[in-house]
């Protein structure tokens, strides 16, 4: 039989359980054994002590690490907290942050004003007006290109939709908040600035 008859692996498979079931004509069942509750569990007090053991271990271990740091000894950190404004945020290599518009070799924005990103945007936060490009080989260019970051949901569809690789979301810039909604709308000039 084709491989789709094996039970679906993982939760996020696009060809989820239903299609597989229809193809094979049977339902895959994974029996889950209920854990036996023996006396030690039923008494509960022992389980409480186990839990307290875990929390006490963490408490004293972390306390020791904090003390070691205070004394200037290098070692494991006592907490996983990132003190955001002071410490730099730890971003993943594929983190989606705010957009940036890439340039052609001559410095002009790559955007061809095809409006695909504006069309695909689920938050409708992109607004482009197109104009004719003065260059012979390029048909259109963006006269204005605005992204309302107050509406953006950071889904990255615009990046995937762009046919000329003009927009990316790798600026790694989290300093977006503003005191006015108008200031959340980024225009072409701001989007092209290097960070």
């Amino acid at each position: 039989m084709p491989p789709q008859c094996s039970p679906p692996r993982g939760g996020g498979s696009r060809h989820g359980g239903l299609a597989t079931r229809e193809a094979c004509g049977r339902v895959t069942v994974r029996p889950v054994e209920r854990p036996e509750r023996d006396l030690a569990v039923q008494v509960y007090l022992l389980e409480v002590l186990t839990g307290l053991g875990v929390t006490f271990r963490h408490f004293f271990l972390n306390l020791g690490r904090h003390a070691a740091k205070l004394l200037g000894v290098d070692g494991e950190p006592g907490s996983v907290t990132i003190q955001y404004p002071e410490d730099p945020p730890a971003l993943g290599s594929r983190a989606r942050t705010r957009h940036r518009i890439l340039r052609r070799p001559d410095g002009a924005p790559r955007c061809a004003a095809c409006l695909l990103c504006e069309t695909v945007c689920p938050a409708r936060c992109i607004r482009i007006t197109a104009e004719e490009s003065p260059e012979a080989l390029i048909e259109k260019r963006a006269r204005t290109f605005e992204i309302d970051l107050g509406l953006c949901v950071f889904c990255g569809y615009c990046v995937e939709a762009c046919p000329v690789d003009a927009i990316r979301m790798d600026a790694n810039d989290l300093d977006l908040p503003a005191f006015d909604r108008k200031d959340m709308i980024w225009d072409l000039r701001r989007l092209m600035e290097e960070t």
Partner: protein
């Protein structure tokens, strides 16, 4: 003079509770943070000086006092206004009954360190805590809100269950000491078993101590016993309160923790006794100075130093119990209500009564056969 001294002692007792309550707010944040690999509140500063978040102790009341004290339309105004005071005030008063130290000699007269020297101290403490619950019920009723009322009813039901349990868990210890006077109970624990082990309640009543700690934790209505509050389901009896009135309810839980910790210290951890410095009859205090200190200092100063030793010992023991209570609070999830009542009525109460029966028989038989375990 003696009236002034008693007033000063009562103020000291209440201050003991208030300072602990403020400090516990910080302890709660930091302890939970450290055990959960976090840092905890550390932003409040004075001139850039942060003191590991200790200034949040000041920031909290400033915020609570300056917030709008909103009284919703439709609440029963008189009850709504009185409830927080009842809830906070009576547990605070209970703190006036504890022996924070024995009696010391200073300036040619004895000074007792127990604010209210009552032969019924234990009953006074239990009574005050029980009256304090009326504040919770009253708040639920006065809120004129189903959620508040549910919280108040839960509080009442829980308190009836666990007040009974608490009294039963202490019955063994009280029978052993043969007194309801808290100072006498502490004095009893000065004796030694076999000359090495202090005859504290925890040694002679280990089961009673564990059960007492569980029932006491339930009495403070903090997690895992915070059913009256139950913020994820009913928000609780203080749902219609804001500002400092809400803050008083929050403080009540901490004050009750201090009361339970003080009670545990007094009955089970030898009160103000310092281990291995105990000597019955020495200077009427039951605590002797360490030998190197006694010879080096003038005799007139022995009283204050003894007092400091006793107060320090009592505070340290209370701190230890509070630390354990806090750790339990941040380890366990909340019980379901039927589980809570089952735990109280079907488990703790029978075990506590069995503990009492065994204790009573053991004392009777030891007397009948003339066995002396302690000197």
């Amino acid at each position: 003079m003696s009236v002034l001294w008693v007033l000063a002692k009562v103020a000291g007792g209440l201050g003991f509770g208030m300072i602990w309550a403020a400090f516990l707010g910080w302890v709660e944040r930091k302890q939970s943070a450290v055990m959960q690999d976090r840092i905890g509140a550390n932003r409040a500063d004075i001139l850039g000086f942060k003191a590991i978040g200790l200034f949040h102790i000041i920031a909290d009341p400033i915020k609570l006092f300056t917030k709008e004290d909103f009284v919703p339309q439709g609440v029963r105004k008189a009850f709504h206004a009185v409830a927080p005071s009842i809830s906070l005030g009576f547990p605070l008063l209970a703190l006036a009954a504890f022996p924070y130290g024995g009696t010391v000699e200073f300036l040619g007269r004895p000074w007792s360190l127990q604010p209210v020297e009552s032969p019924m101290g234990l009953v006074l403490v239990l009574g005050m805590v029980a009256v304090g619950i009326h504040g919770v019920v009253m708040a639920g009723y006065a809120s004129n809100s189903y959620y508040g009322l549910l919280g108040g009813l839960r509080g009442a039901s829980q308190m009836i269950a666990y007040e009974a349990c608490l009294a039963a868990t202490m019955a063994g210890a009280v029978f052993l000491f043969g007194t309801l006077d808290l100072a006498e109970a502490v004095a009893w624990q000065a004796r030694m078993i076999g000359g090495v082990l202090p005859a504290w309640g925890i040694v002679l009543q280990p089961l009673g101590f564990v059960l007492f700690l569980i029932a006491g934790a339930a009495l403070t209505k903090r997690t895992p016993f915070d059913l009256p509050e139950g913020e994820s389901e009913i928000v609780g009896y203080h749902v219609e309160y804001s500002g400092m009135k809400f803050g008083m309810f929050m403080m009540t839980d901490l004050i009750e923790s201090v009361v339970v910790a003080s009670l545990a210290t007094t009955l089970f951890l030898g009160g103000w006794h310092v281990p291995f410095l105990t000597a019955p009859g020495v200077s009427g205090a039951g605590v002797a100075l360490p030998p190197f200190m006694g010879s080096a200092l003038p005799a007139g100063l022995h009283g204050p130093i003894l007092a400091a030793l006793m107060l320090g010992s009592f505070t340290a023991k209370v701190a230890l119990v509070l630390f354990v209570l806090m750790q339990i609070r941040w380890t366990l999830p909340r019980f379901r209500f039927d589980q809570l009542l089952d735990l109280g009525w079907k488990n703790i109460l029978p075990l506590a009564l069995a503990n009492f029966l065994v204790t009573a028989w053991a004392i009777y038989l030891a007397k009948a056969w003339g066995i002396h375990i302690w000197g």
